[in-house]
Symmetry: C4
Amino acid sequence: MGTSGNFSAVLSRDPLRLAITVSGIDKGLLSVDQIVEIDERGKVLAGSGKPSAESSLHIAIARARGAGAVLHTHSIWSTILSDNAPETGLAIEGYEMLKGLDGVQTHDHREWLPILDNTQDWAAAVPQVEAILAQQRDAHAFLIRRHGLYTWGRDLADAKRQVEILEFLFEVMGRKRGMTWQP
Amino acid sequence: MGTSGNFSAVLSRDPLRLAITVSGIDKGLLSVDQIVEIDERGKVLAGSGKPSAESSLHIAIARARGAGAVLHTHSIWSTILSDNAPETGLAIEGYEMLKGLDGVQTHDHREWLPILDNTQDWAAAVPQVEAILAQQRDAHAFLIRRHGLYTWGRDLADAKRQVEILEFLFEVMGRKRGMTWQP
Amino acid sequence: MGTSGNFSAVLSRDPLRLAITVSGIDKGLLSVDQIVEIDERGKVLAGSGKPSAESSLHIAIARARGAGAVLHTHSIWSTILSDNAPETGLAIEGYEMLKGLDGVQTHDHREWLPILDNTQDWAAAVPQVEAILAQQRDAHAFLIRRHGLYTWGRDLADAKRQVEILEFLFEVMGRKRGMTWQP
Amino acid sequence: MGTSGNFSAVLSRDPLRLAITVSGIDKGLLSVDQIVEIDERGKVLAGSGKPSAESSLHIAIARARGAGAVLHTHSIWSTILSDNAPETGLAIEGYEMLKGLDGVQTHDHREWLPILDNTQDWAAAVPQVEAILAQQRDAHAFLIRRHGLYTWGRDLADAKRQVEILEFLFEVMGRKRGMTWQP
């Protein structure tokens, strides 16, 4: 598929070590047969290949959230919703499916997903990402404009469940906008 | 899939005994390997795990309708249509596919699906659900707002067929609203 | 699937004999394991089960068009487009995919699909269907309002190809209407 | 599927020899079991069957771009977008997925896809196609109005990746137009 993204899993916390997919496969067009081990600065410790250009984002999330796994996906609806929203984030509110996000106990919940502008220099953007993760303590994910979704969890299964929940809600909101809703 | 719901099947009518999926898997994210037997008050008689938080709904439907099976699903279109309708229900009228609902002999049929507001306390909501089921004797299903669909049948195959029929009609109506139809 | 329809194949032309799916499975909800042989009046000659309530339509098409097979399908887009068109038919014009219809040599073709109102008495509607088939000699198919599509061909593979072509074009037109086109 | 198209692969560059799918299967309705070898004028050198009526387009692309493979597809969204655009081309700008196109290094890229009017005489249209390919040196693909997409690459895998990338972007843009965007 031309639409999958990249992912990482924490191998050790202190010192921080991540297994992460290598660059060039993060468009998902090749089978994922190359994963490298990196340290907290993104230096390759094991495996061959250049780590994803977005590895600094994975490291920042693993640190700020204590996540065991980080997933980044490209999808039709996350691309549309991140583009269409005129604001700095997307609010999702009042849906039963929100209870599929970690720690959410009621549908009467307002999830705020920050939207970051896209860039080709994620290393330089780390301070901005860290600031947003620090300010938005309750966010389970964020969007990159016209690009895709980042979410995280205790492990890959947990992060994958959140991707499914969020994609479901993106599709509901995107299709509703095609009906009567305007941003 | 992050979109499936929960289900139950009647094991005996008197006393009423249901097999029902356990809580925590009703977001459908894990394989359904845990089903418990409950009595008419929702008490677990066999199996391990806590029954679905919505088990009181299943019991109320099995009683009021004499259903052999109850299915609850989360779908994109049922979420959208239950949300978009400003009224207390959704009318579906004049489609050939309506003949796939139990006992409907002609396309010239008006199906009225009550819409209930969502809650986190279904035990407390049982009297309201029973009242709606008593008033709307002809309804084959109902919707919970921003949440999903409940339908029922003689057995699981019968209930599953009604889910397919209703989802088809939800998609037709949802896509039409994207064209020229307004609620 | 809750969306498939019924089909027939001509076994002999003179006298006319059709193999046709039996009633009760034409909503496609059960596996198709029951096919009966009928004569030109719809009388069952072999097999058990009641032939589809729409068998008189299949017979009329097989006669009027000399078709070897007739396919009837229920789909989201054919339901929407047959409903939305305010007129007695649907025009499809100027698409390359039209060349997938029998005998169409150029995209610069205008296909006119008659739309019939739905009924529960197809035997009584046969004269109307025959009149439309006689008047619209070039039509490769027709729609039944809020119900579905009928098309035909030399054999089942030929009719199936036309279903695929028409469904593609219905989806194109339906999605376009969601954009800027109004009926 | 009724929606696939045709393809070719360069066997030798000088003299130019292409393997190309035969006519009559380019609507994708039969399994692709017939491929012929043609020369630079479209003459069949090996295999049986008439080469695709669009073989002159494949030859023109292989020459002008030095492509190793050419892919032509029919899809819902390429049909809609090529039809809906009032201009001579479609601009796609600012999406991360653009980086999946050959040589594109940043999302901050503007891809311009020329749109050609459809014809039944592609041999006669070759000079026009060559002129467009010469003028639009940066284009990775072009559209034929109400017909489909042509793209190319070093080999079939490369061209296939570009189809996936472009189809993703067509769907994003088509769905956005269903929301707030107008041409």
